[in-house]
Amino acid sequence: MNTDELVEMLKEKGLEVKIQSKMAGVKKKVERKSLWVDVERDRLKEIVGLLVENAEEFPHFCVASTSDIGDKVEINYHFTINFGYQLEEIQITFRVTIPKNDLWVPTLTDIVPATIFSERELREMTGIEIEGLPDKRHLFLTKDFPDGVYPWRRDETAPKDLNKLYEGWKE
C-alpha cells in the first residue's frame, strides 16, 4: 500500500488527509512526508483496525502525544507503516479531539499491544480515562504523585510548583 492508496482508502471512509512535507538530502533530494488524519473518537478503533488489516506488516506504533487546547484535549497517535523499504515508509498520525467534560477514549491495546505504555502515560499526564485499559497504574509518575494534578494540562489542574507536590517537602 503506497501513500496514494492509503489516502484513497481513508477518503473512502470519509476522512480528510493532510499531507505535510519537507525536503531532505544534499546530492540526492528526497521528500519526507507525514500524513495527519482527524478521526472521531467513536471511529478510532475502526480506522486503526483498518490500518492494521491493510498494512503489509504490522504497523509500528511510535507514541501518543497530547495537547491541551482550551476546552478540548487532542490526542495524536503516531504510526509508521511500510518500513523496511527505502523511501516507502509512511508516517501517519490519527488525531482525536475530545471535550474536557467528557474526557475518555477507547483503548487500542487489544489491536495494537504496543499502545499500553502511551495510554498509561496519557492517563496520568493529561487525566484522560482510557476505556478498557487493562493496566491502570502510573507509568512515569511516582505512586505518591497527587491525584487531580496533570503535568501536561494548561488549566487549573496543571502543577503549580512541582517540588511542593510531594509529601515531606520542606521550605
Binding site: 538530502g25 507514541v63 511516582t142
Partner: protein, 404 residues
Amino acid sequence: MKYEVPIGPIHPALKEPIMLRFSLEGEEIVDVDVIASQNHRGVEWIGMNRNNPVQSIYLAERICGICNFCHPACLVLAVEEIVDIEVPERAEYIRVIQSELERIHSHLLWAGVAAHELGFDTLLHYTWMIREKVMDILEVVNGNRVTKAIMMYGGVRRDIKEEHIPKIREMIEYYKKLFNKVAKLFLEDKTIKMRTREIGILRKEDALKLGTVGPTTRASGVKKDVRQDTPYFAYPDFDVEAMTPDIITGETIGDTYDRIVVRLLEVKQSVEIIESALDELPPGDIISEEKVAKILSRIKKAEGEAIGRHEAPRGEDIHYVKLKEGFESFYTWKVRAPTYSNIMSWKPMLMHHQIADIPIVAASIDPCLSCTNRVVVVKNGKERMLTGEDLHRLSIQKTRRLKK
C-alpha cells in the same frame, strides 16, 4: 511455589531508575512486570513551561548522556519542519558524521557492558580501550566527550576543520583494521555463544506487535531503520540499509547473539558512512542564521506541528513538537526515547529463562540501564537483599557451570 523477585529500582550507574518484578518458579521466570515510575524529571514540562526553544535544545541533550546528539537532533528536525528553517549543506553532512560517531561509541560501550554481564571482563576492558579512540575524536571535534552542544536550529555550532580530518581518517583506519578481530572475539568465542545463543529470543511477530525499534527489532529480522526508511539530514546521499544478523550468520533467530551481530555490523556501517561523508564534505557555512535572537523570534511567530525522527544507537527516537503563535515555550513537546518502546520486549525475551540470564538479556536491548544493584527476594513474607554483585556472581557462576 512461586517467588517474587523485584530488581531495582535504583543504582548509581543507571541513568534511568527502573524496577523489574519477576515471578519465579524455582529458577524459571514465569512472569515479568516493568515498573518505570521511580524518578520523573519532568523534562517535557520544563520544555513546555519554562524554557525557550533554544534552551530546550540543551535540555534535550541532557535527557540521556549517551544519546546526547540524538535528542537534540529530533527536536531540531521537528522545529525546522514547522518553522521552515534552511540548513546549509555542510551542516547536514556534519550532522551525519556526528550521529555516526555517537553510534560507534554507544555500540562499543554496550559491547563492553555485555561482556561484563557475562563475566568476561578482559573483553570489557579491551572494548572500552578501543572505544577511547572515538571518544578522543569527539573531544577533538567538539571540545567535549559528552553533552557536545553541537545542534542548533538551522545548522550546527562547530565546524569540522581541516586539521580534524586526518585524525578522523586515522580513526577510520584503526576501526577498519580491528573489525575482524573484534568480530572474532565476540562471535566465535565459545562461552559467549553458550550464554547468548537461543537466549532471550524475540520473534519477529512480537517485535512488530510490541513496537520495538533499533538493533532489538533488526536482530529479529524487521528491516526497520529511520536512516533507510525516511532519510533526513544528508542520509539520502548514503543509501543506508538496515542491518540484520543474516548478513553474517546466514539466519535470523532473534536471540541475544543476533543482537550482538547487528551492533557489530552497525559499527562497521557507521565507519563507512563517516568515511564517505568526509570524502564528499561540501564547503560553505555551517549555520543559516547565526543570531540566536532572530531564530527565537521566528520560532515564536510560527504555528504548527511536526514529528522529528532520528535513528539513535538504540533505535528510532521521536519527538513531537507543537508550536503556537506568541507562545514562548513549546506548546507541546513529547519525547519518546527508544528504550520506551524496547522495554516491553523484556517479557517475551525473559520468559522461561533463569535468574542468571537476566543481566545479559536485559542488557541485550541496550537499555539506558544495564546493571542491577539491589534485589529483594521476598520469601514467605521475609525480605532478603541481593546486591548487584550477587546477581553478577550468579551470572558468572552460570558461565562456569556451562563451561564444565
